[in-house]
Point group: C2
Chain length 381, copies 2
């Protein structure tokens, strides 16, 4: 069993998930071969990764000289579909990951998907593509991964999913008091170390709405059977309830490495001394509190529009991406995020009988519309 | 799937596990057919069960008129081996359950085993019998059941089992302060409603040692990879840790019905509105504290002798059964239990290359020796 070498492509290789994926590759010599790397704009780090992992193919949104490190440059969509690829790790962020993810699924690949926005945008369409081409989506998101682990081996469908929420950076403050928080404050997550976009989404709890939507599609369970509980310690990553009243929970340290590694080795489990471990024997107190949904406007908005059919979920994702980016650039206040997203959703004319192309168009429209309305309001004000 | 009728034999039908098993049979008309019932000495209830469930065969340690309810009387060992039997629920208590359990395994049956003492006495021998005859042991013990549920679908062996312990009736008292506790006090379990023997074993924590031993055999994991944690709420019934640092826990209400039902329907899960449910969304605080093993002499004794090969584990079980019985009859003090068990273990001359017959003989010897030494010491004192 130890001799199988998985040939992998890592998209978003210089991001938080990408770097941790390559840490795992490093920790298990002979178990993974990096066939392709895809990157955004962090060219210096990307070059170092090329030097170290010697991928055959690379793709980048930045600029890199032809033939650097002996790698061939090719579009993201082509690299993920190479015949020799066993696993695509989609560590991309936001709507940009949609077309590479779709290409990998259309090529019948196993996709370890950290880029949850694409499932929010087009869950049913991606699942249909996976089914049509014998592809598999493995979640790399700690809460859905917990649910996945709890469902392994169960023949009966779950009766309820209980997603845990740390509550994010501002869990002890009311929404009204957050008007003047800075990006630096919002980026201080109480329990998880993650990329910027997801950390801001965690602070607004939009991320928790996204996890509900992601779980709804990945585990084929109605929205009204997914609950969220405030669990401040982030040790229980989520729970599943079964018809007979039994529940299973997955627990672990607050470290994405374990979540990534589970998808990379699935169904095997491998010891990795680089990763922190939990001392479950004396872990003290774990708390679970019902969540007051009315306290979190982004969560409400996310759940409302994430459940709609057509292009609304894509607009939700695209508008949120723009709003978070504006906040990180100090262009808007933290508390403007839901208002901006809400206004874009209100302006949207939804497309029914949606295709993936429609969702990409809708999310781009939403991003542009959100940015444009902000500039306009800034000029006017 | 709903049409399969399981033909079952319930041993110990008038005991706590037996009665709850029949409650589940009642709750699912058309899913179970009671082919046989086995009973100890509670004849009035046994007769009512015969009237209601109309078993073809019965076996009792009490007296019942020939042909009562149209049922044929036969030895326990014969009833469990009937060709039509799909599932034997061993709701018996103590060493008496050994030979019927062995007979069921030798006949290739699936045995839902609540009678943990038989696994303590002869775990490796019973597993060998099961393997030789294609039989299956399904645990009906909440902590091992939790571990079983957490291991379902996992291809890699667990790296550690974490068994939870409520701490029993006297968890907030020191051993030294328990000299004068009454059977009534010891029978007040803080979280579980169970039979008398197991409730006293829970108060001494001998039961927790038995669960460690049971888990060691059922899940084929070394003793030094089984931990116990004090979890006062009894909501997390146990946990499993994997090589990658991920843990799974099984949670539920403190109700044996769910544990019994899981084994009866396995691998299916069925809704049963008779059983209590847990509200996991707002369950408040769950605590996990390292256990100070030196506080519990029965736990230490149980672990020490339960790990030994040969007939020591059977003597442990037999001596404990006698000591608990003496305590319930107010013949000895609560704090005498470990001393009495320890003296019997010290007096034992172990048999190596043990057979099941040896374990039965050893446990009988231990029971008799424990009772006899007590009478002797009473006469002398």
């Amino acid at each position: 069993m130890d001799d199988i070498v998985k040939k992998i492509v890592v998209l978003g290789s210089t991001g938080s998930i990408g770097r941790q994926t390559l840490d795992i590759v490093r920790a298990f010599p002979g178990r993974f071969e990096v066939v392709g790397l895809g990157n955004g704009f962090n060219t210096p780090l990307f070059k170092r990764q090329i030097d170290e992992f010697k991928p055959v193919f690379i793709s980048t949104m930045g600029e890199i000289e032809a033939g650097y490190g002996g790698a061939k440059q090719a579009p993201f969509e082509d690299i993920v579909a190479l015949p020799e690829v066993d696993l695509v790790v989609a560590g991309t962020v936001g709507c940009a990951g949609m077309l590479p993810t779709l290409a990998a699924l259309n090529a019948g690949k196993t996709v370890a998907l950290a880029n949850k926005e694409v499932i929010v945008m087009a869950g049913p369409l991606l699942l249909a593509a996976a089914e049509a081409h014998g592809a598999t989506i493995l979640t790399v998101d700690s809460e859905p991964s917990a649910i996945w682990q709890c469902l392994e081996g169960e023949v009966s469908k779950p009766s309820r999913l209980i997603i845990t929420a740390s509550g994010g950076a501002f869990r002890d403050r009311t929404w009204g008091s957050l008007r003047d928080v800075t990006p630096e404050e919002a980026l201080k997550h109480p329990t998880w170390d993650m990329g910027d976009k997801i950390t801001i989404d965690s602070a607004t709890l939009m991320n928790k709405a996204f996890e509900v939507i992601e779980s709804r599609w990945l585990f084929d369970i109605p929205f009204d059977r997914i609950d969220v509980t405030i669990h401040r310690q982030s040790i229980v990553h989520s729970m599943v309830e079964f018809a007979d009243g039994s529940l299973k929970a997955q627990l672990g340290p607050t470290n994405m490495g374990q979540v990534i590694q589970y998808a990379m080795f699935y169904p095997e489990r491998q010891a990795n001394s680089d990763l922190p471990r939990l001392n479950a024997v004396s872990m003290g107190s774990l708390t679970f509190e019902a969540m007051d949904r009315t306290l979190y406007p982004c969560f409400e908005l996310g759940l409302e529009y994430g459940q709609k059919s057509g292009t609304y979920p894509a607009v939700l994702a695209g508008a949120d991406e723009a709003a978070v980016s504006l906040f990180l650039q100090r262009e808007i206040r933290f508390t403007d995020i839901p208002d901006l997203v809400s206004d874009t959703l209100a302006a949207h004319r939804p497309v029914v009988n949606t295709t993936i192309g429609d969702t990409v168009d809708a999310s781009r429209w939403a991003t542009e519309n959100t940015l444009a309305r902000h500039s306009k309001s800034t000029i006017l004000s």
